[in-house]
Each structure stands twice: as structure tokens, then as C-alpha cells.
Symmetry: C2
Subunit: 68 residues, 2 copies
């Protein structure tokens, strides 16, 4: 599977486990609220700084976002 | 430490462990050869697709690039 899609699936899985809405995750990560849906769909070639923001907002290490 | 710098240090560490030159890593990862030095210095906000290419070239899982 494409890495962007894999990442998006993992973000969605962890977000739902934490009981966060897409809007809440965007707020906690300080990224635009329209960005999360497209990330979760695997449409975004996210940068390392955005990856770090999402990990912090989900309270996980970055490596957890790439667990297989 | 800044995530870009942390990532750059880890890429350099793994590259040297594998005995690869910056040029060889760039070739294996199919990225521009001028890109690796600036990544290792922590100057680049690399994208997830570049992260994946570097991991494949180093023959490690992406999560290893974010080990602490």
C-alpha cells in the first residue's frame, strides 16, 4: 500500500481509539481543519513537521504512526 | 531537539553504519544527490514519500528512522 494511504489509515485508527473528532485533532495539532480528512484519505504528502504535530496531538511517538 | 535535526542525525548514523556515502544513499533512494547533506544537517522539511525512499535505501523500517 502507498505510504500516504498507510499513514492516513494509522492516523484515523489512532484518532478513533483516542475518541477524537477530525476537528479536535486538527485543533490539538495546530493544523488546518480541512487538512485531516485528506491526510486520512492518503491524499497528502505530509511533511515531517506535520507528522510530528499529529504524533504530539495523538500523544504517541512518531514511530507508532509507522507501526505495521 | 528539532524533529528535522533529529531525523537528519538518525539518517547519518544509519548511513554510516551501512557504510554508504551520501552520493550512494541518494542514488539508492532515487533522490537528488544534493539533498542528502541538507537532510542530514536538519535543514529540510522532508515529505513522507522522501522518508519512505530513504528508509528503503537504508533497508530499515520507517519507524527505525524515528527510534529514540
Amino acid at each position: 500500500m502507498d505510504i500516504k494511504k498507510k499513514f492516513g489509515k494509522q492516523v484515523k485508527k489512532l484518532r478513533l481509539e483516542k475518541g477524537l473528532s477530525q476537528e479536535k485533532l486538527a485543533y490539538e495539532a495546530d493544523i488546518d481543519r480541512t487538512y485531516i480528512p485528506s491526510i486520512e484519505k492518503g491524499e497528502r504528502n505530509v511533511s515531517i513537521t506535520v507528522i510530528e504535530k499529529i504524533a504530539k496531538a495523538l500523544k504517541v511517538k512518531i514511530s507508532v504512526l509507522f507501526d505495521e
